[in-house]
């Protein structure tokens, strides 16, 4: 399936290559570079490129292109999903999936890749199994290793691979037994010029009960599907560590109000090199919770040269190269609504931009699940001890866009 993998950084250096079958020359990446040049923007590099003898399937994560070489028919999503899993694993192991981290840990990376694929077919992708096989690097361990000459490779043979529940190791022991559930709800919305919402969807990343709300769900494999089907109870053997138990979507019909509103006045004057920009963000009723971590980013039209704005709250930056305006608002207090206004300088002579930019807004509301979803109860079976249980609710903005 997957023949080879090349990791390429943004400046076009191939800094790591791994072959699972015979070696494919790195010149195959030229086709990728060609496509990359054509695409202008990194996001527009097509994920699947056909070359005379191979197919290249790539993903772009954390400023690294993961380019895999395929020789025969394979479901593209299979490869894409796997590559993302590889990136997730690096993230998990090194705390970040960056070129530096990969270069610093090149041997571990290589060992991981060796274990994750056999002859191009995924073998062990569960982080639990991998961590049993190859211990993640820590400062302490590397110091110890250097003194004692021991290694990162687990000396006990992993048994997780053999089990039917690969996501949990046998004999996990902790001094603290805690189970925390974060219910993170993300609001995806496109808000119309007129304030109407043509598109309103809620996605959430993890949760529990009063399940009627949930329109569509996807599960971690640990969840017993039958029990969910019949009783709407999530019953599972938890994997060790952090994991996403369930993602769910709440259908747009039974959705409460969007927690923030935006008043905006953006206009460019005809035949003059300036425009006005005036944006106010305000909270709607949020059941007494404050809206925090509000950040607004706006991709301004190319003709914008600079912006002279004043913010009543927070700070703003405008990057004249990428034309991105970022306004870090912070917390919204209903008494004094944050406002950003001022003058937009346009390139002289350039025609007036015809489209007003859309405002992308991020925010966070602690202790609130906007859908009204609540975890009813959490029971634990099979162990005598009582773990500490906690549930936290957060509502976040997902892809929240206001058209102007």
């Amino acid at each position: 399936m997957i023949h080879s993998l090349f990791l390429i950084n943004c400046s076009g250096d191939i800094f790591l290559e791994k072959h699972w079958k015979s070696v494919v020359s790195k010149s195959v990446c030229d086709y990728f570079f060609e496509a990359q040049e054509k695409a202008i923007d990194v996001e527009n590099v097509p994920p699947v490129i056909s070359t005379p003898h191979h197919y290249l399937i790539s993903i772009y994560r954390d400023k690294i292109f993961f380019v895999s070489v395929i020789q025969t028919e394979v479901p593209p999503l299979f490869v894409i999903e796997f590559l993302h899993r590889v990136a997730d694993t690096f993230q998990d192991y090194f705390g970040e999936c960056s070129e530096t981290a990969i270069k610093d840990n090149v041997v571990i990376v290589y060992e991981l890749l060796e274990e994750m694929l056999d002859n191009g077919f995924p073998l062990a992708t569960e982080s639990n199994i991998l961590k049993e096989l190859i211990k993640p690097p820590t400062i302490l361990r590397s110091v110890v290793n250097s003194i004692t000459g021991s290694t990162n490779v687990g000396d006990t043979l992993p048994t997780g691979q053999l089990s039917n529940i690969p996501w949990r190791r046998a004999g996990v022991k902790y001094t603290n037994n805690e189970a925390y559930f974060d219910v993170i709800e993300e609001i995806d919305a496109i808000i119309d010029k007129s304030g109407k919402m043509p598109c309103k969807l809620i996605f959430l990343s993890l949760s529990f009960m009063n399940p009627r709300l949930l329109d569509d769900v996807s599960f971690h494999p640990c969840i017993r599907f039958k029990r969910w089907e019949s009783e709407r109870v999530l019953s599972f053997i938890p994997p060790d560590g952090n994991f996403r138990l369930i993602s769910y979507r709440v259908s747009s019909q039974n959705l409460v109000a969007i927690p923030v509103y935006v008043k905006h006045m953006i206009s460019f004057k005809e035949n003059s090199s300036s425009g006005r920009f005036d944006v106010t963000i305000g909270p709607k009723q949020n059941m007494g919770k404050t809206v925090e971590g509000v950040v607004m980013t706006v991709h301004m039209p190319k003709a914008v040269l600079n912006m002279n704005l004043t913010a009543t709250q927070g700070s703003y930056t405008f990057d004249p190269v990428t034309k991105v305006l970022t306004w870090d608002v912070g917390k919204i207090t209903p008494q004094k609504l944050p406002n950003l206004k001022g003058i937009v300088n346009l390139q002289s002579g350039a025609p007036k931009p015809e489209e007003n930019p859309s405002l992308n807004i991020q925010f966070k509301i602690q202790q609130l699940a906007i859908s009204g979803l609540k975890v009813n109860r959490l029971d634990m079976y099979g162990e005598k001890y009582k773990p500490f249980k906690g549930v936290k609710y957060i509502t976040k903005a997902g892809k929240f866009q206001v058209r102007t």
Partner: protein, 1345 residues
């Protein structure tokens, strides 16, 4: 230097920033010194100015002063990739060339020895130049031992377009003598990228907060390249090291160096003495100054390439080997050639250290192909590994062995795969499945043999293997779909438990399978139409014969009923739509799209829409598939229309795909919302997207007549858009729309005609001209005028426009020759001399056609028809139309071209192939087990971990038991046969009867009871009866018994009378005895089944008394006697037997387990067999066995029930019910069954015995009969009479046994002491006196036989 002040400021910021980044402790490490005090090891910074005007960067070139006026530095060779020179020059000459320099000195001095050795080494090396990682600054700092520098041989860079060097000339001209070109070469690409990515560089921002002004570096500029800072990642290592060295200032001791490096990266872990600055990343390029020993560091001749690594690999320290292997792997990762190390590496294949071994494997797999002969050296290691007792080692050996692509070992691989395919570990079998495609790709001649292995593995029932073997199947023999038949149902059932990657492969394969084996679920609709048509014709013809035939065909083509297997597949894949893995969801979606009835396909939409929230690559693929699906099944996605709305932040390729889907979904009801949405898109900044939107509007307009005018008006408005591209695109689309109803839109055509003045985009101009030409009758006045204008500008037009001008001219000539004749002539003349031959040809052709001459008369007549024929309006179609002939979700579908190895999705068959091919011999069993297994797997670990663990141990325990039971029974029979008089056959019969029979007559039971009463009475009367008396009594009893038997039954043999006292029934009718005799095997099988059943009931392993010697264990279980609970006659064909299995009852330790065996001898099925209305005496408890739902005729079922007898021999009464009848039955335990053996030592026994004296002790003398004098016989008789465990005993003539009563747990101790001759004394010590006395009696009886 730069001119503008802001540039100046930025430069300064940059440099100080840079220095801090490269060498954070720079200020602490270096101090500026004056030129006059220059000395060895000082760093010189020469200015370089770039010629490119407007550059804001100032460059510095760094060099290091050696001594005696020499300066060493690194310089890039112009126009030769990234080759460099490391050269020495004269200080003064350099100063003259490059200008005044700044001089910095390391504050704490340098290690001169180290410095000189580095200089020596460097002079013999080259280095690959890298503006960010390996430049002159790095080199200078390296010489002073401060940062990394990678010296290496330069390879010809063939990375294609990645690094096209562009030279930026520096001030200094080429120097003579050393032949170095003084130019700095940077890749243009790098420059471009650096600028582009700067703002988004997170690290950059982080660093910016550092106190820039804090460092006194205003005039100091260390760096050569101002860009460095933008890629600060590369410096992290150097920075750390710098900090480590900086203030401390001593030359590093090897140990220090190691520790410090370990912190930064394990890769860099070097052994003692390895220079700190070498990074393993570039190990192949290293020419170490120092070998593993510090002493070598001073050697003047640098050793050849890789020698140090070889040396390390040859050492006997694992840590050195590991280090070497790490460096080698790092080289491989970089794509550097490390093949020359092969012999040194392969030697370590048998290394004990796991990590070394693993890395050796990595190396081996990478290079074995190139060094086949040497690779063979390693094979024996793997062969050994294949036989390792540990499954993981076997698997890994097979994995590596099969990954080595050396054709010579094909037979070995084949053998290994075959062996592994029948390994007992599923994990090894999985690895074998993985190895199959590897071997196939190495040698496709092995196909036939491999198919055999695949066939075998396909039959595997574990989830672990399923995915991998299907993968192998797909790669080796996807055409052998027949192999799947037998495994189809199993695969469907296992699917949900297979790991996610396997699921994808299996689902894709099953899709193909289902297409060949089942009928189309949607054929019903087509069939209905078809038959209706037929009926219509049939009635017309009024032919009876026909009608008959038709009826037959209708009957034959009976309404579609889905094959249950087809349904099974759909049902079992549906839950996977909830998978977290996008590939699995997509696989199920395509399966439903290709296989499910139309009405059911809708379920996949939701899941696919969910995937749209994933990474953009996933979105891209999913949208492609949704686009295809939405053409065929629009209704499916309509509810999710809004999910396809476009965000301004979406990448263009996603936007265009979403647009495609939106267009496909447009219908009369939602078109207004969609058009409103499109209006927003048209104002987007992304022009490609706008163009696509305009086309989408055009498509909506052609498809939905209602909105055509609205769309057209909207598009016309766009004609006045400022952006030319938008206008051009609109023109093209409008042209297509107008073709549909030109008459009504002459205004628009006029409007467009005016646009020819402004629009420059050729395609748009051409479109307008075509329109005017085509509909010149609608705009009779304007058309000639347009032609006039075009004739003027003809020579300047694009080819495509020119052709349309000719076209227009021709059409006008035909319709309005009066006004346009001359113009046409003119245009044709111009065209005749055009540069483009197409245009010349066209002009000639048209002239011949339209201008009447003598020659071309015939064609001329038809010219009007030719040019002004009615042209059908174009149909605007989605590019995704008909893409679904590729299997969705496949690479081929995405590319819309057949990919290598793509398996066509076959069409549905007309006739369903035989569904019975999928029948497996024991389908129910497999189904049942798979279900059970799943349940077990899910349930077990959740409720109790111990259960899962105890499973295997239990089975391990119980198996030998059942064996021992069997052997026990046989030994008991042999012992009794040894007793003499009986013949083999009779003995068998006797044994059977002894173990099986109990009287069904109440009469007899009463007799038994009275007998026992008698016994008790006599005992009471006797107090401590003498031996003779006892004997007498025994004889009397036997006599009585015999007489009873004779009385009640017709046939009684003397053997039987003497045989079993405990089996109180005398005998059976002859016929019954015969029937019994006919089925000894089944009764033999009894105990076996018991053990199996117990396993099912997951009892913890019984606390077996540990026997002192193994042969003692068998008699303990030898005497499992079976009693009759319900006779065949009394039970109306239902016969029930019970026995005491002598195992602890699982639910309750205080209960005696009673094994009940029920045989149905009737002809009918017996249903709902259960225990009802137990009427136990006070304190007695009965645990009923689970209801037996049905018992087929001739079948036998075994169940276990538990009875707490409260340590009494009272019978337990209850009813045994079937669905029709109730039987009153009772179970009376022999006293010996009321206890369970305990194990104790001799001392414990004596101690306990000491406590149980007086009243609790019962002693009886007895004479052992002759056959009962051997140790073995005694032990056997005692243990058969009572469930006791033997206690070791020092004396020869003493036997001790111990047990505890089941309910109260009181000890029961038995001692049998042999005296002289046949005399013996039996002592029983027990709190429970009743039990004690009864036990004594029973044992005496047993021994007396």
């Amino acid at each position: 230097m730069s001119s503008s002040t802001s540039n100046c400021r930025r430069k300064k910021e940059m440099l100080s920033f840079l220095l801090f980044k490269t060498l954070p402790g720079f200020k602490d490490v270096f101090s500026k010194v004056s030129e006059s005090t220059i000395q060895t090891g000082d760093i010189l910074l020469f200015p370089i100015e770039t010629c490119s005007s407007g550059s804001i960067w100032s460059f510095k070139h760094a060099a290091v002063y050696c001594n005696e006026g020499e300066v060493i530095h690194l310089q890039k060779i112009r126009s030769s990739g990234n080759r460099t020179w490391i050269i020495k020059e004269g200080y003064k000459a350099m100063k003259k060339d490059r200008g005044k320099c700044e001089i910095y000195r390391k504050k704490d001095g340098i290690d001169l020895n180290d410095f000189y050795s580095k200089v020596r080494e460097a002079m013999n090396s080259e280095a690959k130049y890298d503006i960010t990682k390996n430049n002159c600054i790095h080199f200078a700092l390296f010489l002073l031992g401060l940062v990394d520098f990678y010296m290496q041989l330069v390879e010809v860079d063939n990375e294609g377009g990645s690094d096209r060097p562009v030279s930026i000339p520096s001030v200094s001209p080429p120097r003579q003598g050393c032949g170095v070109a003084g130019r700095t070469v940077v890749s243009q690409r790098d420059l471009v990228r650096l600028f582009r990515f700067r703002p988004s560089n997170g690290t950059h921002n982080k660093v910016r907060v550092l106190p820039l002004g804090a460092i006194a570096t205003r005039s100091a500029s260390f760096t050569h390249a101002g860009f460095l800072a933008f890629l600060p990642d590369f410096f992290l290592v150097g920075r750390r090291r710098g900090l480590g060295v900086g203030p401390a200032g001593q030359p590093k001791t090897p140990a220090d160096g190691d520790a410090a490096e370990e912190v930064t990266s394990p890769v860099l872990a070097t052994e003692a003495g390895q220079p700190a600055c070498y990074s393993a990343l570039r190990a192949d390029e290293l020419r170490p100054l120092a070998g593993p020993e510090p002493a070598v560091a001073t050697s003047t001749v640098p050793p050849p390439r890789h020698d140090d690594l070889k040396e390390m690999l040859d050492s006997n320290k694992d840590s050195l080997k590991l280090e070497a292997m790490k460096r080698i792997v790092a080289m491989i990762a970089r794509g550097k050639n490390a093949s020359d190390l092969f012999p040194a590496v392969v030697k370590n294949v048998a290394c004990k250290n796991i990590e070394v071994k693993k890395l050796v494997y990595v190396y081996l797999v990478r290079y074995a192909e190139e060094q086949q002969d040497l690779a063979l050296l390693s094979i024996s290691t793997f062969q050994r590994g294949l036989k390792d007792p540990n499954q993981l080692i076997r698997a890994s050996a097979l994995r590596v062995l099969s990954s080595i692509r050396v054709p010579i070992i094909v037979p070995i691989m084949m053998l290994a795969i075959k062996e592994a395919a029948s390994d007992m570990s599923p994990y090894v079998r999985k690895t074998a499945a993985h190895a199959i495609p590897k071997l196939y790709s190495l040698d496709s001649d092995q196909k036939d043999q491999l198919i055999e292995v695949i066939e075998k593995l396909l039959a595997d029932k574990t989830t672990l293997v399923a995915g991998s073997v299907v993968m192998a199947f797909e790669e080796v023999c996807p055409e052998r779909i027949d192999l799947i038949h037998k495994n189809y149902r199993k695969l469907c059932n296992l699917l949900i438990d297979v790991e996610e990657w396997g699921q994808v492969v299996i689902i894709n394969m099953l899709t193909r399978y289902a297409r060949t084996q089942f009928l189309s679920p949607n054929q019903n609709e087509s069939l209905l139409e078809e038959s209706a048509e037929k009926a219509f014709y049939g009635s017309e013809e009024e032919d009876t014969k026909d009608a008959k035939a038709e009826a037959a065909s209708l009957a034959k083509r009976k309404p579609y009923v889905m094959d249950p297997d087809h349904r099974l597949l759909l049902r079992n894949t549906k839950p996977l739509l909830q998978s977290r893995n996008a590939a699995v969801v997509m696989a199920v979606a395509q399966l439903y799209f290709h296989l499910a009835p139309k009405a059911e396909v809708g379920v996949i939409a939701k899941a696919l829409v969910r995937l749209l929230r994933s990474h953009s690559e996933v979105q891209y693929v999913v949208l492609q598939n949704v686009a295809t699906m939405s053409i065929k099944r629009r209704g499916m996605f309509e509810p999710y229309l809004k999910s396809f709305y476009i965000r301004s932040t979406d990448p263009t390729q996603i936007k265009i795909l979403k647009l495609e889907v939106l267009t496909n979904l447009a219908n009369e009801t939602n078109i207004s919302t969609i058009l409103r949405e499109f209006q927003t898109y048209i104002r987007s900044m992304d022009k490609d997207f706008v163009a696509a939107t305009i086309q989408a509007i055009g498509r909506c307009a052609t498809n939905i007549g209602k909105v055509r005018d609205t769309c057209l008006n909207g598009l016309v408005q766009l004609l006045s858009n400022r952006d030319e591209l938008v206008v051009a695109e609109s023109v093209v689309v409008i042209k297509k729309l107008l073709q549909m109803q030109p008459a009504q839109h002459s205004e628009i055509i006029k409007h467009m005609a005016k646009l020819t003045d402004n629009i420059q985009v050729p395609m748009a101009r051409a479109s307008i001209l075509w329109l005017i030409g085509e509909y010149c009758e609608h705009v009779p006045k304007i058309a000639p005028d347009v032609l006039r204008k075009m004739a003027k500008s003809f020579t300047n037009e694009e080819d495509i426009v020119k052709l349309q001008v000719i076209n227009l001219a021709a059409k006008l000539y035909l319709t309005n020759s009066k006004q346009s004749k001359l113009l046409t002539q003119y245009v044709l003349n111009l065209a005749k001399y055009d540069q483009n031959y197409d245009i010349r040809d066209r002009a000639r052709f048209i002239r011949q056609l339209i201008v009447p001459t003598e020659k071309s008369g015939a064609l001329n007549k038809y010219a009007k028809k030719l040019f002004l024929a009615q042209k059908p309006a174009p149909i605007l179609e989605s590019s995704f139309k008909d893409r679904d002939h590729f299997q969705l979700g496949s690479l081929s579908h995405l590319l819309n071209a057949k990919a290598v190895g793509y398996q066509e999705l076959p069409d549905w068959p007309d006739e369903a192939p035989d569904p019975s091919v999928r029948n497996v011999e024991v389908p129910e069993w497999t189904k049942c087990t798979s279900r059970e297994k799943r349940k077990e797997k899910v349930e077990k670990p959740f409720y109790s971990d111990s259960e899962g663990e105890s499973g295997p141990t239990e089975s391990a325990d119980s198996e030998p038991e059942s064996v021992s039971e069997e052997s026990g029974s046989s030994s008991s029979s042999s012992s009794s046969s040894s007793s003499g008089s009986e013949e083999e056959e009779e003995e068998e019969e006797e044994e059977e009867e002894g173990s099986g029979e109990q009287s069904e007559d109440k009469e007899e039971e009463e007799e038994k009871r009275t007998k026992r009463k008698e016994k008790e009475g006599s005992r009471k009367a006797a107090g401590s009866p003498s031996e003779e008396e006892e004997e007498e009594e025994g004889a009397k009893k036997a006599k009585k018994k015999a007489s009873q038997g004779r009385k009640s039954r017709t046939e009684t043999s003397s053997e039987e009378a003497s045989a079993s006292e405990s089996s109180s029934s005398g005998s059976d009718s002859g016929s019954e005895a015969e029937t019994k005799r006919r089925k000894p095997p089944s009764s033999r099988a009894g105990p076996k089944e018991i053990s199996l059943l117990d396993l099912d009931d997951f009892t913890p392993p019984p606390p077996q008394p540990v026997p002192s010697s193994s042969h003692l264990l068998s008699p303990a279980f030898g005497a499992v006697r079976t009693y009759e609970l319900l006779h065949r006659m009394a039970g109306e064909g239902l016969s029930v037997e019970y026995c005491f299995s002598r195992r602890p009852f699982p639910g309750d330790p205080h209960m005696v387990a009673v094994q009940i065996q029920i045989s149905n001898n009737t002809d009918a099925e017996v249903k709902s067999l259960r225990v009802s209305e137990p009427k136990p005496l006070s304190g007695m408890r009965i645990q009923e066995f689970p209801e037996i739902e049905r018992l087929a005729p001739g079948d036998t079922a075994s169940v276990v029930m538990g009875i707490d007898f409260c340590d009494s021999t009272q019978a337990a009464n209850f009813q045994l019910c079937t669905h029709t009848r109730h039987f009153y039955v009772s179970i009376q335990p022999p006293v010996g069954e009321l206890m369970a053996p305990v194990f104790m030592s001799e001392n414990e026994f004596k101690k306990e015995q000491g406590k149980l004296t007086g009243m609790s002790e019962i002693t009886e003398k007895l004479t052992l009969p002759e056959k009962c004098r051997s140790d073995h016989a005694i032990v056997q008789q005692v243990t058969s009479a009572a469930n006791v465990g033997r206690v070791p005993c020092g004396a020869d003539n003493e036997y001790r046994f111990a047990a505890k009563t089941v309910t109260s747990g009181s000890l029961v101790l038995i001692t049998l002491e042999r005296r002289e001759g046949a005399a013996a004394q039996l002592t029983v010590n027990s709190e429970k006196m009743v039990i004690g006395t009864m036990l004594v009696k029973d044992i005496v009886q047993a021994l007396a036989q």
